[in-house]
Symmetry: C2
Subunit: 464 residues, 2 copies
Amino acid sequence: MAASAPIKPTIYLGSFVHSTSLSELELADKGAIGVDETGVIAFVERAVENVEDVKAKNEGFTEANVVEVKDGFFFPGFIDTHTHASQHPNTGLFGQTTLLDWLQTYTFPMESSLSELSKAQTVYSNFVSRTLSHGTTTAAYYATIHVPTTNLLADICLSRGQRALVGRVCMNTDLSPEYYRDVSEEQALSDSRASIDYIRSIDPKGEIVQPIITPRFAPSCTSTCLSHLGALAKETGAHIQTHIAENKPEVVLVASLFPTSKSYTDVYDTAGLLTPKTILAHAVHLSGPEISTIKARGAKISHCPASNTAITSGCCPVRELLDEGLTIGLGTDVSGGFSPSILEECRQAIWVSRFRAMSSAENSKLSTEEVLYLATRGGAAVVGLEDRVGGFEVGKEWDAQMIVLNPVPEGGAPEGKFEGGVDVFGFETLEERVQKWVYSGDDRNTVAVWVRGRLVHRTGKYLA
Amino acid sequence: MAASAPIKPTIYLGSFVHSTSLSELELADKGAIGVDETGVIAFVERAVENVEDVKAKNEGFTEANVVEVKDGFFFPGFIDTHTHASQHPNTGLFGQTTLLDWLQTYTFPMESSLSELSKAQTVYSNFVSRTLSHGTTTAAYYATIHVPTTNLLADICLSRGQRALVGRVCMNTDLSPEYYRDVSEEQALSDSRASIDYIRSIDPKGEIVQPIITPRFAPSCTSTCLSHLGALAKETGAHIQTHIAENKPEVVLVASLFPTSKSYTDVYDTAGLLTPKTILAHAVHLSGPEISTIKARGAKISHCPASNTAITSGCCPVRELLDEGLTIGLGTDVSGGFSPSILEECRQAIWVSRFRAMSSAENSKLSTEEVLYLATRGGAAVVGLEDRVGGFEVGKEWDAQMIVLNPVPEGGAPEGKFEGGVDVFGFETLEERVQKWVYSGDDRNTVAVWVRGRLVHRTGKYLA
């Protein structure tokens, strides 16, 4: 279905779970949410006994579709604030490497191969299917340096109906191999502009896909290149994404490459790349003054715990960054991260916070409620969509996933017949069901996904 | 099929992967393994071009079944060296608790409810299905204090054909609530003996199920109770399992409860509970002298990283324990651990080792090869089955799983049609396929499981 085509008004019925603050989840049984023909939430009702009453009292909904969740709940779609669609084929391949050798060994060869349209079609189409299947309704994607295949990724997101920020990667220094880099500062700029123009041509209002200016990270770009991109961001009003302070050798490298800058953060700030529309991935090793600068500029943070752990980058001090008032979402960072799932990232954020609690920072433990906030409302704020998605209020758009947790039958499940990792025995409160989903759920529990009211993913047996 | 009934000789054909040492995996394409009518590996061949030649040259295999793996490989069954079948319904429920309050809040109420046979039937049957579906061919299980339902767990393991050490839990101090503890030292001993006798009666040779003496952990037992159990172990030759040094407040508690003991380890040693057949779960906070004592007694370690992280117990120094020469396997420790999967535990062991590398102990990183060794040969040695399972040599029994990784079709996977978390694009070596399986695989990739040559689990579409 075209992402803007009108839909039939629909009433969603059953249990609803969403964040109301960083530390609080609202858990509602017997709810009803009405979504109008534009995909916007028209009403939210509680304590519903009879859907016919709901239809009767809400104008425009007398003939509405009804979609009821049984053995589960509706949850806002996940926001993946940082991932590399182009590294999808390398998922799980990192071995014992850390950032700088990982880039040379795994990443640059794979990305460079995505100049080929047919390969890019397979990789990007598969990755969008994967992320949708995990309930990701919005993603901030790195593509590659290639304009045609970056544009292809935007086409795929638009046609599949997944909200996306799609970025052509800029990288013009010899940190990148000769076979895979921008040949000049002029080309870096003109190719970035070309991709912005294309993405805006296919979705002029940016309702589903938007361009995002993407300097890979400071060591990949000359000062001039970074400044050109800062000016381009100002001129076009586009979003910006990059990496910052992911691992220690990288921080040392940046200091040596930009000797006149006060810090890693200052490199971006000087270039005009720190704005309220900037997503900074990682932020593991920032100094206090850097955090203050980021906050003052209104730039946002993408926390990517799976990646940070897998390639041993460090433990991001999320509790402290939250206490400083920064805006934070979660990112899968495939393929530094080993999973396209934001649910897995919720768990990884919890593990990282627990490791910090066990080693030094006792108060750093994140709760289940907090990571679910980062995965939805936090992420929405990071990508600039906090007024449109992330929760279930009237006026928000219906970006949601239907979560189903299978009940254990009397006598135990028949051999080998499990649909997802969660076992529900019947004693669990809705809150406990959410906990079980977070700690043992997977894509099998996400049986249907909507963006702006349009069904963008379903598993075979649901909503067929 | 009865666990000892003769089977038809079978030739397994395709790729085989197993550990040959802590740091090395053997990866063989085009192999063939012949399993005789008793479930024992009769021959191992490499570079096989034609299965008919293999049949012809191996006596007794001319009419053999042939089971070929495509798009995957055979891998030894996993050994779960420590888990609580009785806590299965609480999987994923732990919130912000740590060990001692977690026991009171979640664990004791659930375990006590398993006095009821019908509930135990559902919980234990479902859990054995779950662990088999994740490729676990051998498990060391805690049940509860109840003899009848502990025996039921052994019955289920025997009838399903999963190798198991099944332990009735002993706990006679007021750390446990009045509604759930042994009423006397005499009862603790006699009930333990009753369960040992029953389990030996249903499987006299211990080919599938064996009893295991199970003092919950030192704070749950009086000195006399522990000594009785030590004497029972000596008398019966039974295995022993317990917990040790899981979290810091527990270590302090043990010191206060056993003021004349030199250490937590000394409590068990004094009681005669440290033997070559003893499994010590956790071992996160041991002193140097304790490690020496454990090594001298030949007792084994079950590393349970998911649990240690989830309930913030600490980071077990696995590298150092290995360097000291201890024997180590992996344990899921459900429901302190949040998953019944040893594959997940492999990942968690890697994360814990990386966190240690990032915070203090640079050389602690475990490799993929090392955790797979712990999950198979290491675990086999922990449960005393190293001569029978853990690898693919002539004379070993065929405890194995068939791993299938689905190839990504040209153009990307059709929406929502994923069978497991791994994407194979075609460029991957067998070694890279193993890496992808370890970091993004799940139970969907384990499509068939055998114990002693008998098929004990399969998913719908395989070997139907």
